[in-house]
Symmetry: C2
Subunit: 488 residues, 2 copies
């Protein structure tokens, strides 16, 4: 029997609702539409029926033995894992749990420097020591990808006590790491590879899309099922394969960082998203792929270009003439009713997905055409906007070339203050310092400030790099922790 076409958790919730039991349990709405607002009732009414709690027929996310366990088994099979944990706290929860489940206090983790903030938070919560590995730089864009297998090998030679290697793949722009190469290096030493694949839940599910991190041999992988597949937001999965990653400790860490009242609609949407993937297969991506092809073909006649990346569902558009920055392009697109995923100083990044239609490609082309026409009426190009150059790539390699000493990210409840950049050595950073490109953080909040870091920031600042979100964008000053506490 082909049970891949079933959605055991969703179906269990509907069966439960259809029985119409009397509810003397949370939530307080008791599965009835409680709001007088007619519109709100319509928005939530059907969903409230399945917004239930742990009951004898609805299972328990934190100790699954019924329909949640069955739904997780089907997901493991669909994504090629030995075991899959449903997440209701997004990939954030998965990243926290992979690291908390792998590192006791003082343990050492090899982790690429350009990671999602949840990874830095996990290091701070775990009290782990991190060796931040320099990533490879994409020569065409100057953007950071992930460390190479060679870099990981050097780091493991120097730090054989490392508990794990942590990679992000793909990056926000759709560029994957060499997961296979890194996993081989790690497994030679018996070290597990943990991968934040938040932006790659569709990887390995279509011939035009790169293989997944699990196919590359990763031991634990987190995927945002909501980002590139069709779950509700915050629906994500943590996949485990093999015996190197400690499954029990990772499950235990999930119990620490996720709600003890997890959302059944989000869990059921994971079940339905997996079912859809298995029933429709690669066909579910065709409308989105067609939309991106429409855009790529039209770009030859427009003053915009898109980064060449492995993930065909990501379009990182930039202005070939240098007139519009990535932020300005994002804003111009928004005025045309086209909402991008994010922007950096050079690129507006667009994410297509199973819900995209070919008409979305046509609408984007029409918007770009109008933006280009308005621009040629405006006149001259503004010139340099932080794009890739030989010098950028060389600088990136120089600034992040060596395997550094381990550092601890300090969790703190104190205040921050601005001090002159050249007086910050020996203090603890109080803000993110991320020049674009390459998008590699030079300092994390809680990281001890070294003279190397200050020299690198000054060098990049003087070369015109843009520091996104910095308190002082010109970096004459930097935020550091005070020693002040609110109470002493």
């Amino acid at each position: 029997m082909n049970n891949r076409a079933t959605a055991p958790l969703y179906e269990a919730l509907i069966r439960h609702a259809d029985r119409q039991p009397h509810a003397y349990h949370v939530p307080g709405h008791k599965q009835r539409a409680p709001w007088d607002e007619p519109g709100a009732d319509r928005t939530y009414q059907e969903l409230l029926r399945i917004d239930v709690t742990e009951l004898s027929d609805t299972d328990d996310l934190h100790h699954p033995i019924g329909p949640i366990a069955e739904a997780e088994r089907l997901a493991a099979s669909a994504f090629g894992a030995d075991e899959t944990c449903f997440l209701v706290g997004g990939s954030t929860a998965g990243n926290l749990a992979m690291i908390l489940g792998t590192c006791d206090a003082d343990d050492l983790l090899l982790v690429q420097r350009n990671v999602h903030k949840s990874v830095i938070h996990a290091l701070a919560l775990a009290g782990a020591r991190a060796v931040f590995l320099p990533p490879k730089i994409d020569p065409a864009s100057g953007l950071a990808i992930a460390p190479s297998p060679d870099t990981v090998r050097q780091a493991l030679d120097r730090y054989p006590e490392a508990r794990a290697v942590f990679l992000t793949s793909p990056n926000y722009y759709g560029m994957p790491a060499d997961v296979k190469g890194v996993s081989e290096v790690a497994h030679e030493r018996g070290v597990p590879l943990l991968v934040d694949e938040a932006h790659g839940a569709h990887f390995g599910q279509h011939p035009d899309v790169p293989p997944s991190a699990l196919q590359g041999g990763a031991d634990a992988v987190v995927q945002s099922t909501h980002k590139m597949l069709t779950a509700l937001t915050m629906g994500a999965m943590l996949h485990l394969q093999g015996e190197l990653a400690s499954r029990g400790a990772i499950r235990q860490a999930l119990r620490m960082v996720q709600s003890s009242s997890p959302s059944y609609p989000i869990m059921a949407s994971l079940d339905l998203a997996r079912r859809q993937l298995q029933v429709k297969g690669k066909h579910m991506f065709e409308p989105a792929l067609k939309a991106t092809r429409v855009v790529r073909q039209a770009l030859v006649e427009l003053p915009f270009d898109a980064l060449e990346v492995a993930d065909p569902l990501k379009l990182s558009l930039y202005d070939r003439t240098g007139r519009l920055s990535g932020f300005e392009l994002q804003e111009a697109l928004e005025r045309e009713g086209c909402l991008a995923e994010m922007a950096d100083p050079r690129h507006a990044v667009l994410a297509f997905g199973p819900g995209s239609r070919p008409a979305d490609g046509e609408a984007l082309v029409a918007a770009l055409r109008r933006i280009a026409e308005a621009g040629s009426a405006d006149g001259e190009a503004a010139g340099l906007n932080g794009g890739a150059s030989g010098a950028t790539v060389e600088l990136a390699s120089r600034g992040f070339g060596e395997i550094p000493e381990p550092v601890r990210i300090r969790r703190h409840t104190g205040e921050t203050q601005a001090i002159p950049l050249d007086q910050a050595v020996g203090r603890v950073a109080g803000e993110w310092v991320i020049p674009y490109p390459p998008g590699i953080p030079m300092l994390f909040p809680g990281e001890p400030v070294t003279s190397d870091a200050i020299a690198a920031i000054a060098r990049w600042r003087d070369r015109g790099a843009r520091f996104q979100g910095a308190a002082d964008a010109a970096f004459r000053t930097i935020q550091v922790l005070t020693d002040m506490r609110r109470r002493s």
Copy 2:
């Protein structure tokens, strides 16, 4: 203008959806119903329209300046806070953030012993030292409430360096702490009071319901808006008042423990739940109160009774004859289509809420009547089932009477093993040890095992206490951490 009747976040999401923008951002479903399953489409279709991401008109939970900030301001006003943070990770996220935002590593926290597991997890993640305060025992039921103001005063005398006092109020059964008394004691020393009010989001909102923790003077309070009000599951709020609790550090801790892709439907449901509370006021609780009155009146003719507690929306039913344990009563009710919130060895606990109707009271009475009739056909009572007795209360006072030494809860990735109880002193506990009643944990996972704890467990075991969820319910052995690591 009475803007309490608006729901600014929900309305912003509907306006956004009505504009029908082209979405090149996450989530992958692009606000369209993507599932072929006809039932699933119906369940989720309307909701998908508002399952969006951070956009220029939808604001950012982690740095709110638009409709989320406005919705939080209205919530602060409705609940009597100076500032309110919407939570999408349940009260779990709020408890983690209150403690992580208050305690750096090695800081000392005064915390009652009978707390939700998220509080223990927070202590482990914070690396804080905890002084566990003995709770008061309710004489009628033998159940633990919260520490008295006198206990807190003694503890503050001995540990003036404490960063905060942490209480849970009400407990699961609807018994509140003396929040006002404790907050006065804490504030005399300039120490903030943090309260887990997960089960009391309705407190202070109806004349028959006890005052809220904020009304009692607490500085930071977490409420599960989904439990006793009408938000979606995982929707909760963290309220702050005054200047003693560090707002910036607590907000920063929320950024660490909550998803960087928070769920808009959950956030909007918080906005709608607050709006409903303000528009309907105390009338929204009348159907539920009527339902509980129906049950209480009928109990006089039935062999069941309900604990007398301050919260009229909680019914903790027990079998006066001692025939059915709380677990058996819960199961018998379930066979009658009545689903309770939880059970302990003596009680089945039922939670009523704004979605309850008088018919739920009548259905419960009919179910209890059928259970009683089946029971009298069955014959004899089973006798003792762990209820309150003078001896229990005296034992509880004796076992938990003194202010103990500070302990650290150890976070660990290792395995556990069973060893004989009398050999466990000096090891680290690997499981929860909770006798019912009083429901006070004698050991937490990660807590060092003392000879006092072992003596108390043996004493309670020998008196016939029930240990819920223990690996060896007879407590000849206990789970402790091994020193084994999967890799060395």
